[in-house]
Amino acid sequence: MSALLQMELGKLGRLASVRFGALVLILFPLLWAYAPGIFDVYGFFLVSGFQVPALALLSSMEFLLPLLIAITCAELIGIEINHGTLPTVLLRPITRAQWLLAKLLVASAYPFLALAFFLLTSLAAGAFFGFGPFVGGTGLGRQGLLGAGTMVPIEAWQEVLRAYLIAAYSLVPIGLLAVLFAVILMNAAGGALATLATLIVMQLLVVFPAVTPYLLTTQLSAYVQPASPLGWVVALIALYCAAFAAAAVIVFERKDF
Protein backbone atom coordinates (compact mmCIF):
# COMPACT_ATOMS: atom_id res chain seq x y z
CA MET A 1 0.00 0.00 0.00
CA SER A 2 2.83 2.42 0.81
CA ALA A 3 4.34 1.76 -2.64
CA LEU A 4 0.98 2.49 -4.21
CA LEU A 5 0.55 5.67 -2.20
CA GLN A 6 4.06 6.82 -3.06
CA MET A 7 3.33 6.17 -6.73
CA GLU A 8 0.08 8.12 -6.64
CA LEU A 9 1.70 11.07 -4.84
CA GLY A 10 4.36 11.08 -7.54
CA LYS A 11 1.68 11.36 -10.22
CA LEU A 12 0.10 14.37 -8.49
CA GLY A 13 2.92 16.70 -9.51
CA ARG A 14 2.45 15.73 -13.15
CA LEU A 15 -1.19 16.75 -13.36
CA ALA A 16 -1.83 19.73 -15.62
CA SER A 17 -4.37 21.10 -13.14
CA VAL A 18 -1.79 21.03 -10.32
CA ARG A 19 0.69 23.00 -12.41
CA PHE A 20 -1.95 25.47 -13.52
CA GLY A 21 -3.25 25.72 -9.97
CA ALA A 22 0.25 26.45 -8.68
CA LEU A 23 0.55 29.33 -11.15
CA VAL A 24 -2.78 30.75 -10.00
CA LEU A 25 -1.77 30.39 -6.35
CA ILE A 26 1.43 32.33 -7.06
CA LEU A 27 -0.26 35.17 -8.96
CA PHE A 28 -3.37 35.56 -6.81
CA PRO A 29 -1.65 36.92 -3.61
CA LEU A 30 0.41 39.28 -5.75
CA LEU A 31 -2.83 40.91 -6.94
CA TRP A 32 -3.77 41.67 -3.36
CA ALA A 33 -0.32 42.77 -2.28
CA TYR A 34 0.16 45.24 -5.12
CA ALA A 35 -3.40 46.24 -6.01
CA PRO A 36 -3.36 50.06 -6.27
CA GLY A 37 -7.12 50.52 -5.78
CA ILE A 38 -7.58 48.41 -2.66
CA PHE A 39 -8.48 51.41 -0.47
CA ASP A 40 -10.98 52.77 -3.00
CA VAL A 41 -12.81 49.44 -3.21
CA TYR A 42 -12.52 47.98 0.28
CA GLY A 43 -11.70 51.04 2.40
CA PHE A 44 -8.50 49.84 4.05
CA PHE A 45 -4.73 49.79 3.58
CA LEU A 46 -2.54 46.73 3.95
CA VAL A 47 -0.13 47.37 6.79
CA SER A 48 1.35 43.92 7.44
CA GLY A 49 2.61 40.90 5.51
CA PHE A 50 0.19 38.78 7.58
CA GLN A 51 -2.80 40.46 5.96
CA VAL A 52 -1.94 39.21 2.46
CA PRO A 53 -2.47 35.48 3.32
CA ALA A 54 -5.69 36.49 5.05
CA LEU A 55 -7.05 38.45 2.09
CA ALA A 56 -5.91 35.75 -0.33
CA LEU A 57 -7.79 33.11 1.65
CA LEU A 58 -10.91 35.22 2.27
CA SER A 59 -11.31 35.97 -1.41
CA SER A 60 -10.63 32.45 -2.72
CA MET A 61 -12.44 30.08 -0.36
CA GLU A 62 -15.83 30.68 -1.89
CA PHE A 63 -15.02 29.68 -5.44
CA LEU A 64 -11.37 29.60 -6.56
CA LEU A 65 -10.00 27.05 -4.11
CA PRO A 66 -12.99 24.66 -4.33
CA LEU A 67 -12.67 24.87 -8.12
CA LEU A 68 -8.94 24.06 -8.10
CA ILE A 69 -9.40 21.21 -5.61
CA ALA A 70 -12.35 19.72 -7.51
CA ILE A 71 -10.56 19.82 -10.85
CA THR A 72 -7.35 18.27 -9.54
CA CYS A 73 -9.06 15.53 -7.56
CA ALA A 74 -11.26 14.61 -10.52
CA GLU A 75 -8.14 14.58 -12.68
CA LEU A 76 -6.53 12.04 -10.34
CA ILE A 77 -9.01 9.54 -11.82
CA GLY A 78 -9.28 11.22 -15.22
CA ILE A 79 -5.56 10.94 -15.99
CA GLU A 80 -5.78 7.14 -15.70
CA ILE A 81 -8.78 7.10 -18.03
CA ASN A 82 -7.06 9.41 -20.53
CA HIS A 83 -3.88 7.32 -20.60
CA GLY A 84 -5.86 4.08 -20.58
CA THR A 85 -3.75 2.93 -17.62
CA LEU A 86 -6.63 2.15 -15.28
CA PRO A 87 -7.22 -1.42 -16.57
CA THR A 88 -3.46 -1.97 -16.72
CA VAL A 89 -3.08 -1.12 -13.04
CA LEU A 90 -6.14 -3.14 -12.04
CA LEU A 91 -4.69 -6.23 -13.70
CA ARG A 92 -1.93 -6.28 -11.12
CA PRO A 93 -2.52 -8.13 -7.83
CA ILE A 94 -3.92 -5.16 -5.94
CA THR A 95 -7.57 -4.84 -5.06
CA ARG A 96 -9.72 -2.12 -6.55
CA ALA A 97 -10.35 -0.79 -3.04
CA GLN A 98 -6.60 -0.51 -2.36
CA TRP A 99 -6.01 1.43 -5.55
CA LEU A 100 -8.92 3.79 -4.98
CA LEU A 101 -7.97 4.23 -1.35
CA ALA A 102 -4.54 5.44 -2.47
CA LYS A 103 -6.27 7.93 -4.78
CA LEU A 104 -8.59 9.05 -1.97
CA LEU A 105 -5.67 9.58 0.40
CA VAL A 106 -3.89 11.69 -2.20
CA ALA A 107 -7.13 13.63 -2.80
CA SER A 108 -7.34 14.21 0.96
CA ALA A 109 -3.74 15.36 1.17
CA TYR A 110 -3.99 17.71 -1.80
CA PRO A 111 -5.97 20.54 -0.08
CA PHE A 112 -3.30 20.63 2.67
CA LEU A 113 -0.48 20.68 0.12
CA ALA A 114 -2.22 23.34 -1.99
CA LEU A 115 -2.96 25.59 0.99
CA ALA A 116 0.55 25.19 2.40
CA PHE A 117 1.85 26.37 -0.98
CA PHE A 118 -0.75 29.17 -1.07
CA LEU A 119 0.34 30.31 2.39
CA LEU A 120 3.98 30.40 1.30
CA THR A 121 3.25 32.37 -1.87
CA SER A 122 0.99 34.76 0.12
CA LEU A 123 3.67 35.33 2.73
CA ALA A 124 6.22 35.89 -0.03
CA ALA A 125 3.88 38.38 -1.71
CA GLY A 126 3.32 40.16 1.60
CA ALA A 127 7.03 40.27 2.55
CA PHE A 128 7.16 43.84 1.22
CA PHE A 129 4.99 44.93 4.20
CA GLY A 130 7.12 43.09 6.76
CA PHE A 131 6.13 40.68 9.52
CA GLY A 132 6.64 42.78 12.61
CA PRO A 133 4.03 44.07 15.13
CA PHE A 134 1.31 46.13 13.47
CA VAL A 135 -1.83 48.06 14.34
CA GLY A 136 -4.91 46.23 13.06
CA GLY A 137 -5.84 42.57 12.54
CA THR A 138 -4.93 39.76 10.15
CA GLY A 139 -8.51 39.56 8.89
CA LEU A 140 -8.77 36.00 10.18
CA GLY A 141 -9.54 36.81 13.82
CA ARG A 142 -12.69 38.13 15.50
CA GLN A 143 -11.74 41.78 14.92
CA GLY A 144 -11.21 41.39 11.19
CA LEU A 145 -8.66 43.55 9.39
CA LEU A 146 -9.17 46.56 11.65
CA GLY A 147 -8.18 44.60 14.75
CA ALA A 148 -8.10 45.81 18.32
CA GLY A 149 -4.88 47.66 18.82
CA THR A 150 -1.39 46.26 18.17
CA MET A 151 -0.98 42.70 17.02
CA VAL A 152 2.25 40.89 17.83
CA PRO A 153 3.75 38.52 15.20
CA ILE A 154 3.25 35.32 17.23
CA GLU A 155 -0.47 36.03 17.55
CA ALA A 156 -0.70 36.82 13.84
CA TRP A 157 1.14 33.60 12.94
CA GLN A 158 -1.27 31.58 15.08
CA GLU A 159 -4.34 33.13 13.45
CA VAL A 160 -3.04 32.63 9.93
CA LEU A 161 -1.86 29.04 10.46
CA ARG A 162 -5.08 28.05 12.24
CA ALA A 163 -7.21 29.53 9.46
CA TYR A 164 -5.21 27.82 6.70
CA LEU A 165 -5.36 24.49 8.52
CA ILE A 166 -9.14 24.63 9.02
CA ALA A 167 -9.66 25.88 5.45
CA ALA A 168 -7.62 22.97 4.05
CA TYR A 169 -9.56 20.49 6.17
CA SER A 170 -12.91 21.89 5.03
CA LEU A 171 -11.83 21.49 1.40
CA VAL A 172 -11.08 17.75 1.79
CA PRO A 173 -14.70 16.58 1.26
CA ILE A 174 -14.84 18.61 -1.94
CA GLY A 175 -11.84 16.67 -3.26
CA LEU A 176 -13.41 13.37 -2.25
CA LEU A 177 -16.72 14.36 -3.83
CA ALA A 178 -14.85 15.10 -7.07
CA VAL A 179 -13.25 11.62 -6.92
CA LEU A 180 -16.70 10.10 -6.35
CA PHE A 181 -18.19 11.90 -9.37
CA ALA A 182 -15.15 11.09 -11.53
CA VAL A 183 -15.58 7.41 -10.60
CA ILE A 184 -19.29 7.51 -11.42
CA LEU A 185 -18.83 9.39 -14.69
CA MET A 186 -15.39 7.99 -15.55
CA ASN A 187 -14.43 11.45 -16.73
CA ALA A 188 -12.38 14.24 -15.14
CA ALA A 189 -14.27 17.20 -16.58
CA GLY A 190 -17.60 15.63 -15.74
CA GLY A 191 -16.42 14.88 -12.21
CA ALA A 192 -15.26 18.45 -11.59
CA LEU A 193 -18.38 19.94 -13.13
CA ALA A 194 -20.71 17.72 -11.11
CA THR A 195 -18.84 18.69 -7.93
CA LEU A 196 -19.16 22.40 -8.63
CA ALA A 197 -22.83 22.01 -9.54
CA THR A 198 -23.40 20.22 -6.22
CA LEU A 199 -21.67 23.01 -4.31
CA ILE A 200 -23.73 25.67 -6.08
CA VAL A 201 -26.96 23.81 -5.28
CA MET A 202 -25.83 23.48 -1.66
CA GLN A 203 -25.18 27.21 -1.49
CA LEU A 204 -28.74 27.84 -2.64
CA LEU A 205 -30.05 25.67 0.19
CA VAL A 206 -29.28 28.43 2.70
CA VAL A 207 -32.91 29.43 2.16
CA PHE A 208 -33.73 26.45 4.40
CA PRO A 209 -32.31 27.63 7.74
CA ALA A 210 -32.81 24.25 9.39
CA VAL A 211 -30.34 22.52 7.05
CA THR A 212 -27.85 25.37 6.71
CA PRO A 213 -25.58 24.33 9.63
CA TYR A 214 -25.20 20.84 8.12
CA LEU A 215 -24.30 21.93 4.59
CA LEU A 216 -20.83 21.26 3.30
CA THR A 217 -20.69 24.77 1.84
CA THR A 218 -21.45 26.28 5.25
CA GLN A 219 -18.31 24.65 6.63
CA LEU A 220 -16.18 26.41 4.00
CA SER A 221 -16.25 29.56 6.17
CA ALA A 222 -15.39 27.68 9.38
CA TYR A 223 -11.80 28.98 9.19
CA VAL A 224 -13.02 32.47 10.01
CA GLN A 225 -16.47 32.08 11.57
CA PRO A 226 -17.55 28.49 12.32
CA ALA A 227 -21.34 28.02 12.21
CA SER A 228 -21.09 25.67 15.19
CA PRO A 229 -18.45 24.74 17.78
CA LEU A 230 -15.23 23.75 16.02
CA GLY A 231 -15.31 20.15 17.30
CA TRP A 232 -18.76 19.70 15.80
CA VAL A 233 -17.60 21.18 12.49
CA VAL A 234 -14.58 18.85 12.41
CA ALA A 235 -16.84 15.84 13.06
CA LEU A 236 -19.33 16.89 10.39
CA ILE A 237 -16.59 17.33 7.79
CA ALA A 238 -15.17 13.91 8.74
CA LEU A 239 -18.63 12.42 8.22
CA TYR A 240 -18.87 13.98 4.74
CA CYS A 241 -15.40 12.61 3.93
CA ALA A 242 -16.29 9.10 5.09
CA ALA A 243 -19.57 9.10 3.16
CA PHE A 244 -18.01 10.30 -0.11
CA ALA A 245 -15.04 7.91 0.18
CA ALA A 246 -17.26 4.91 0.98
CA ALA A 247 -19.61 5.72 -1.91
CA ALA A 248 -16.65 6.03 -4.29
CA VAL A 249 -15.26 2.63 -3.23
CA ILE A 250 -18.69 0.94 -3.53
CA VAL A 251 -19.27 2.35 -7.03
CA PHE A 252 -15.71 1.55 -8.15
CA GLU A 253 -15.89 -2.05 -6.89
CA ARG A 254 -18.72 -2.82 -9.34
CA LYS A 255 -17.44 -0.92 -12.37
CA ASP A 256 -16.78 -2.71 -15.65
CA PHE A 257 -13.56 -1.80 -17.44
Binding site: A3, R14, H83, T85, P87, T88, L91, R92, P93, I94
Partner: protein
Protein backbone atom coordinates in the same frame (compact mmCIF):
# COMPACT_ATOMS: atom_id res chain seq x y z
CA UNK B 1 -5.06 -31.31 -15.86
CA UNK B 2 -6.66 -28.15 -14.46
CA UNK B 3 -7.51 -25.62 -17.15
CA UNK B 4 -5.65 -22.33 -16.82
CA UNK B 5 -8.70 -20.42 -18.05
CA UNK B 6 -12.20 -21.80 -17.93
CA UNK B 7 -15.51 -20.16 -18.66
CA UNK B 8 -18.91 -21.73 -18.29
CA UNK B 9 -22.10 -20.27 -19.79
CA UNK B 10 -20.50 -16.83 -19.60
CA UNK B 11 -22.93 -14.06 -20.51
CA UNK B 12 -22.51 -10.30 -20.47
CA UNK B 13 -25.28 -7.82 -21.07
CA UNK B 14 -25.05 -4.07 -21.37
CA UNK B 15 -28.65 -3.07 -20.71
CA UNK B 16 -30.96 -5.57 -22.37
CA UNK B 17 -28.48 -6.33 -25.16
CA UNK B 18 -26.25 -9.37 -24.62
CA UNK B 19 -22.75 -8.83 -26.01
CA UNK B 20 -21.48 -12.26 -24.95
CA UNK B 21 -23.85 -15.23 -24.77
CA UNK B 22 -23.40 -18.60 -23.07
CA UNK B 23 -19.69 -18.76 -23.75
CA UNK B 24 -18.00 -21.96 -22.61
CA UNK B 25 -14.40 -22.66 -23.44
CA UNK B 26 -11.14 -23.62 -21.76
CA UNK B 27 -7.46 -22.93 -22.28
CA UNK B 28 -5.03 -25.51 -20.96
CA UNK B 29 -1.46 -24.72 -19.85
CA UNK B 30 0.83 -24.59 -22.88
CA UNK B 31 -1.98 -23.78 -25.31
CA UNK B 32 -2.31 -20.63 -27.41
CA UNK B 33 -6.02 -19.92 -27.89
CA UNK B 34 -6.97 -17.19 -30.36
CA UNK B 35 -10.36 -15.54 -30.35
CA UNK B 36 -11.24 -14.36 -33.81
CA UNK B 37 -14.36 -12.70 -35.13
CA UNK B 38 -15.65 -9.63 -36.91
CA UNK B 39 -15.52 -6.21 -35.26
CA UNK B 40 -18.09 -6.03 -32.49
CA UNK B 41 -18.21 -9.82 -32.11
CA UNK B 42 -17.40 -9.51 -28.39
CA UNK B 43 -13.70 -10.47 -28.37
CA UNK B 44 -12.58 -7.56 -26.18
CA UNK B 45 -15.50 -8.10 -23.81
CA UNK B 46 -14.50 -11.75 -23.41
CA UNK B 47 -10.88 -10.72 -22.75
CA UNK B 48 -12.05 -8.25 -20.09
CA UNK B 49 -14.41 -10.74 -18.49
CA UNK B 50 -11.75 -13.41 -18.31
CA UNK B 51 -9.11 -11.07 -16.92
CA UNK B 52 -11.51 -9.85 -14.22
CA UNK B 53 -11.92 -6.28 -15.46
CA UNK B 54 -15.60 -6.71 -16.24
CA UNK B 55 -18.25 -8.58 -14.28
CA UNK B 56 -20.26 -11.37 -15.91
CA UNK B 57 -24.05 -10.95 -16.01
CA UNK B 58 -24.24 -14.70 -15.53
CA UNK B 59 -21.97 -17.71 -15.85
CA UNK B 60 -18.53 -18.26 -14.39
CA UNK B 61 -14.90 -17.47 -15.14
CA UNK B 62 -12.10 -19.37 -13.48
CA UNK B 63 -8.44 -18.49 -13.73
CA UNK B 64 -6.18 -21.28 -12.46
CA UNK B 65 -9.22 -22.57 -10.58
CA UNK B 66 -10.10 -19.24 -8.94
CA UNK B 67 -12.64 -16.53 -9.64
CA UNK B 68 -10.45 -13.45 -10.37
CA UNK B 69 -13.00 -11.18 -8.65
CA UNK B 70 -13.11 -13.20 -5.46
CA UNK B 71 -9.38 -13.91 -5.39
CA UNK B 72 -7.60 -10.84 -6.81
CA UNK B 73 -4.23 -12.24 -5.72
CA UNK B 74 -4.53 -14.83 -8.48
CA UNK B 75 -3.47 -11.98 -10.78
CA UNK B 76 0.06 -12.48 -9.48
CA UNK B 77 0.09 -15.37 -11.93
CA UNK B 78 -1.44 -13.35 -14.78
CA UNK B 79 0.20 -11.20 -17.43
CA UNK B 80 -2.20 -9.19 -19.56
CA UNK B 81 -2.48 -6.42 -22.11
CA UNK B 82 -6.09 -5.39 -22.58
CA UNK B 83 -5.64 -2.12 -24.43
CA UNK B 84 -4.60 -1.77 -28.04
CA UNK B 85 -2.19 -0.03 -28.16
CA UNK B 86 -0.90 -1.04 -24.74
CA UNK B 87 -1.39 1.77 -22.22
CA UNK B 88 1.52 3.31 -20.33
CA UNK B 89 2.33 6.60 -18.66
CA UNK B 90 3.68 8.64 -21.59
CA UNK B 91 5.84 10.87 -19.40
CA UNK B 92 7.82 7.90 -18.06
CA UNK B 93 10.45 5.92 -19.94
CA UNK B 94 9.79 2.37 -21.04
CA UNK B 95 12.04 1.11 -18.24
CA UNK B 96 10.37 3.30 -15.58
CA UNK B 97 6.95 2.08 -16.68
CA UNK B 98 8.08 -1.52 -16.29
CA UNK B 99 9.67 -0.77 -12.91
CA UNK B 100 6.35 0.69 -11.82
CA UNK B 101 4.59 -2.49 -12.99
CA UNK B 102 7.20 -4.50 -11.11
CA UNK B 103 6.35 -2.63 -7.90
CA UNK B 104 2.62 -3.12 -8.41
CA UNK B 105 3.20 -6.80 -9.03
CA UNK B 106 4.73 -7.07 -5.60
CA UNK B 107 8.40 -6.85 -6.47
CA UNK B 108 10.24 -8.11 -9.53
CA UNK B 109 14.03 -8.04 -9.83
CA UNK B 110 15.47 -5.17 -11.88
CA UNK B 111 17.39 -7.75 -13.91
CA UNK B 112 14.04 -9.23 -15.02
CA UNK B 113 12.97 -5.81 -16.32
CA UNK B 114 16.13 -5.67 -18.43
CA UNK B 115 15.55 -9.24 -19.56
CA UNK B 116 12.00 -8.68 -20.85
CA UNK B 117 13.02 -5.44 -22.55
CA UNK B 118 15.73 -7.36 -24.40
CA UNK B 119 13.28 -10.15 -25.16
CA UNK B 120 11.04 -7.76 -27.12
CA UNK B 121 14.08 -5.93 -28.56
CA UNK B 122 13.40 -2.66 -26.76
CA UNK B 123 16.66 -2.52 -24.82
CA UNK B 124 17.93 0.33 -27.00
CA UNK B 125 14.78 2.42 -26.39
CA UNK B 126 14.29 1.55 -22.71
CA UNK B 127 15.30 5.00 -21.52
CA UNK B 128 13.16 6.95 -23.95
CA UNK B 129 9.80 8.30 -22.83
CA UNK B 130 6.90 6.12 -23.91
CA UNK B 131 5.23 9.22 -25.35
CA UNK B 132 7.67 9.09 -28.28
CA UNK B 133 7.31 5.33 -28.87
CA UNK B 134 5.72 4.15 -32.10
CA UNK B 135 2.55 2.07 -31.95
CA UNK B 136 4.48 -1.13 -32.51
CA UNK B 137 7.01 -0.26 -29.79
CA UNK B 138 4.20 0.34 -27.32
CA UNK B 139 2.68 -2.98 -28.22
CA UNK B 140 6.01 -4.72 -27.66
CA UNK B 141 6.40 -2.91 -24.34
CA UNK B 142 2.94 -4.20 -23.46
CA UNK B 143 4.06 -7.76 -24.14
CA UNK B 144 7.18 -7.12 -22.03
CA UNK B 145 5.01 -5.86 -19.14
CA UNK B 146 2.81 -8.92 -19.42
CA UNK B 147 5.83 -11.24 -19.30
CA UNK B 148 7.41 -9.45 -16.35
CA UNK B 149 6.22 -11.84 -13.63
CA UNK B 150 6.75 -15.04 -15.66
CA UNK B 151 2.97 -15.53 -15.70
CA UNK B 152 1.15 -18.83 -15.92
CA UNK B 153 -1.64 -17.14 -17.85
CA UNK B 154 -1.14 -14.55 -20.59
CA UNK B 155 -4.12 -12.59 -21.91
CA UNK B 156 -3.60 -10.22 -24.82
CA UNK B 157 -6.12 -8.12 -26.72
CA UNK B 158 -4.95 -7.51 -30.28
CA UNK B 159 -1.23 -7.90 -29.51
CA UNK B 160 -0.33 -7.54 -33.18
CA UNK B 161 -2.17 -4.26 -33.70
CA UNK B 162 0.00 -1.64 -35.41
CA UNK B 163 3.05 -3.89 -35.73
CA UNK B 164 5.35 -4.20 -38.71
CA UNK B 165 6.06 -7.74 -40.00
CA UNK B 166 9.34 -8.03 -38.08
CA UNK B 167 7.78 -7.00 -34.77
CA UNK B 168 4.87 -9.31 -35.47
CA UNK B 169 7.23 -12.21 -35.99
CA UNK B 170 9.08 -11.30 -32.80
CA UNK B 171 5.91 -11.20 -30.70
CA UNK B 172 4.72 -14.49 -32.17
CA UNK B 173 8.04 -16.07 -31.24
CA UNK B 174 7.82 -14.70 -27.69
CA UNK B 175 4.29 -16.01 -27.27
CA UNK B 176 5.20 -19.41 -28.71
CA UNK B 177 8.16 -19.61 -26.32
CA UNK B 178 5.91 -18.70 -23.39
CA UNK B 179 3.43 -21.40 -24.38
CA UNK B 180 6.15 -23.99 -24.83
CA UNK B 181 7.25 -23.30 -21.25
CA UNK B 182 3.72 -24.08 -20.03
CA UNK B 183 2.02 -20.67 -20.07
CA UNK B 184 -1.60 -20.62 -21.23
CA UNK B 185 -2.09 -17.83 -23.77
CA UNK B 186 -5.44 -16.30 -24.68
CA UNK B 187 -5.47 -13.59 -27.30
CA UNK B 188 -7.81 -11.84 -29.68
CA UNK B 189 -6.70 -11.01 -33.17
CA UNK B 190 -7.65 -10.23 -36.76
CA UNK B 191 -4.39 -11.64 -38.18
CA UNK B 192 -5.80 -14.96 -39.35
CA UNK B 193 -2.75 -16.03 -41.37
CA UNK B 194 -0.45 -15.63 -38.38
CA UNK B 195 -2.90 -17.39 -36.08
CA UNK B 196 -2.42 -20.65 -37.99
CA UNK B 197 1.33 -20.36 -37.58
CA UNK B 198 1.48 -20.28 -33.81
CA UNK B 199 -1.89 -20.86 -32.16
CA UNK B 200 -3.06 -24.25 -31.00
CA UNK B 201 -6.77 -23.41 -30.82
CA UNK B 202 -9.09 -20.90 -32.44
CA UNK B 203 -12.49 -19.81 -31.19
CA UNK B 204 -14.71 -18.05 -33.70
CA UNK B 205 -17.00 -15.45 -32.19
CA UNK B 206 -19.93 -13.89 -33.98
CA UNK B 207 -22.33 -11.51 -32.22
CA UNK B 208 -21.12 -12.70 -28.81
CA UNK B 209 -21.66 -16.39 -29.59
CA UNK B 210 -18.84 -18.91 -29.91
CA UNK B 211 -19.87 -20.47 -33.19
CA UNK B 212 -16.95 -22.82 -33.59
CA UNK B 213 -13.69 -23.99 -32.05
CA UNK B 214 -10.88 -25.37 -34.16
CA UNK B 215 -7.97 -27.43 -32.85
CA UNK B 216 -5.16 -26.28 -35.10
CA UNK B 217 -2.76 -28.91 -33.79
CA UNK B 218 -4.89 -31.56 -35.46
CA UNK B 219 -5.17 -29.42 -38.55
CA UNK B 220 -1.41 -29.07 -38.69
CA UNK B 221 -0.94 -32.83 -38.66
CA UNK B 222 -3.38 -33.39 -41.54
CA UNK B 223 -2.17 -34.95 -44.78
CA UNK B 224 -3.74 -34.92 -48.21
CA UNK B 225 -3.32 -37.74 -50.77
CA UNK B 226 -4.28 -37.42 -54.42
CA UNK B 227 -5.19 -40.93 -55.61
CA UNK B 228 -6.93 -42.66 -58.49
CA UNK B 229 -9.59 -44.33 -56.29
CA UNK B 230 -10.64 -42.13 -53.37
CA UNK B 231 -13.18 -44.51 -51.82
CA UNK B 232 -10.76 -47.43 -51.80
CA UNK B 233 -8.05 -45.18 -50.37
CA UNK B 234 -10.43 -43.89 -47.69
CA UNK B 235 -11.41 -47.40 -46.60
CA UNK B 236 -7.80 -48.58 -46.65
CA UNK B 237 -6.52 -45.70 -44.57
CA UNK B 238 -9.46 -45.80 -42.16
CA UNK B 239 -8.56 -49.41 -41.37
CA UNK B 240 -5.05 -48.43 -40.22
CA UNK B 241 -4.62 -47.92 -36.45
CA UNK B 242 -2.10 -45.10 -37.04
CA UNK B 243 -4.53 -43.04 -39.11
CA UNK B 244 -7.33 -40.84 -37.72
CA UNK B 245 -10.17 -38.75 -39.21
CA UNK B 246 -10.20 -39.94 -42.82
CA UNK B 247 -12.55 -38.21 -45.21
CA UNK B 248 -12.83 -37.47 -48.89
CA UNK B 249 -12.56 -33.97 -50.23
CA UNK B 250 -13.12 -33.87 -54.01
CA UNK B 251 -10.49 -36.13 -55.60
CA UNK B 252 -8.34 -36.18 -52.47
CA UNK B 253 -8.32 -38.22 -49.32
CA UNK B 254 -7.61 -36.17 -46.21
CA UNK B 255 -6.42 -37.83 -43.03
CA UNK B 256 -4.49 -37.27 -39.81
CA UNK B 257 -1.46 -39.35 -38.94
CA UNK B 258 -0.60 -40.28 -35.39
CA UNK B 259 2.63 -38.54 -34.50
CA UNK B 260 4.53 -41.80 -34.36
CA UNK B 261 3.44 -42.97 -37.80
CA UNK B 262 5.90 -42.58 -40.66
CA UNK B 263 4.67 -40.95 -43.84
CA UNK B 264 6.19 -43.65 -46.01
CA UNK B 265 3.77 -46.17 -44.50
CA UNK B 266 0.94 -44.40 -46.34
CA UNK B 267 2.41 -45.07 -49.76
CA UNK B 268 3.12 -48.73 -48.96
CA UNK B 269 -0.31 -49.32 -47.52
CA UNK B 270 -2.12 -47.73 -50.48
CA UNK B 271 0.05 -49.58 -53.00
CA UNK B 272 -0.81 -52.87 -51.26
CA UNK B 273 -4.51 -52.02 -51.69
CA UNK B 274 -4.00 -51.32 -55.39
CA UNK B 275 -4.44 -47.56 -55.10
CA UNK B 276 -2.18 -45.38 -57.21
CA UNK B 277 -0.81 -42.49 -55.15
CA UNK B 278 -0.22 -39.42 -57.35
CA UNK B 279 0.64 -36.86 -54.74
CA UNK B 280 1.07 -36.78 -50.96
CA UNK B 281 1.55 -33.67 -48.87
CA UNK B 282 0.44 -31.52 -45.94
CA UNK B 283 -3.19 -30.48 -46.03
CA UNK B 284 -2.67 -26.78 -45.47
CA UNK B 285 -5.59 -25.32 -43.51
CA UNK B 286 -7.06 -22.16 -44.93
CA UNK B 287 -8.35 -20.50 -41.76
CA UNK B 288 -9.39 -17.38 -43.67
CA UNK B 289 -11.80 -19.30 -45.93
CA UNK B 290 -12.96 -21.48 -43.08
CA UNK B 291 -13.65 -18.45 -40.89
CA UNK B 292 -15.55 -16.65 -43.65
CA UNK B 293 -17.61 -19.74 -44.34
CA UNK B 294 -18.51 -20.27 -40.67
CA UNK B 295 -19.41 -16.64 -40.03
CA UNK B 296 -21.53 -16.41 -43.17
CA UNK B 297 -23.26 -19.69 -42.32
CA UNK B 298 -24.00 -18.41 -38.82
CA UNK B 299 -25.42 -15.16 -40.17
CA UNK B 300 -27.62 -17.01 -42.67
CA UNK B 301 -28.80 -19.33 -39.93
CA UNK B 302 -29.61 -16.44 -37.63
CA UNK B 303 -31.47 -14.60 -40.37
CA UNK B 304 -33.64 -17.64 -41.01
CA UNK B 305 -34.28 -18.14 -37.27
CA UNK B 306 -35.16 -14.47 -36.79
CA UNK B 307 -37.54 -14.72 -39.73
CA UNK B 308 -39.69 -17.19 -37.79
CA UNK B 309 -42.25 -15.62 -35.42
CA UNK B 310 -41.24 -15.89 -31.74
CA UNK B 311 -37.90 -17.48 -32.60
CA UNK B 312 -34.84 -17.06 -30.37
CA UNK B 313 -31.94 -15.57 -32.27
CA UNK B 314 -29.04 -17.17 -30.39
CA UNK B 315 -27.39 -19.99 -32.29
CA UNK B 316 -24.41 -21.35 -30.43
CA UNK B 317 -21.59 -23.78 -31.05
CA UNK B 318 -23.76 -26.51 -29.56
CA UNK B 319 -26.33 -26.38 -32.35
CA UNK B 320 -24.05 -25.26 -35.16
CA UNK B 321 -22.50 -27.84 -37.52
CA UNK B 322 -19.11 -29.01 -36.25
CA UNK B 323 -15.83 -27.91 -37.78
CA UNK B 324 -15.03 -31.48 -38.79
CA UNK B 325 -17.70 -31.27 -41.48
CA UNK B 326 -15.69 -28.71 -43.40
Amino acid sequence: MQAAIETHALTKRYGPRPVVRDLTFAVEPGEVYALIGPNGAGKTTVIRLVSGLAFPSSGTVLMLGHDPHETPTIRRRLGAVVEAPAAFYPYLTGRSNLLLHARLAGGVATSRVREVLDQVELGHAADRKVGVYSLGMRQRLGVAAALLTRPEVLILDEPASGMDPLSLHLVHRVLRDAASSGTAVLLSTHHLDEVVAYCSHVGILEEGVLIDEVDLRDRGARMRAMVDDVQNARLTLAAQPWVREVFVRGRDVVFTLDESAAIDRVGRCLAAAGVALRELGDDSFDLRSYYRERVEAQRARRTSVEGRPGAVAAVSVADAPTGADA
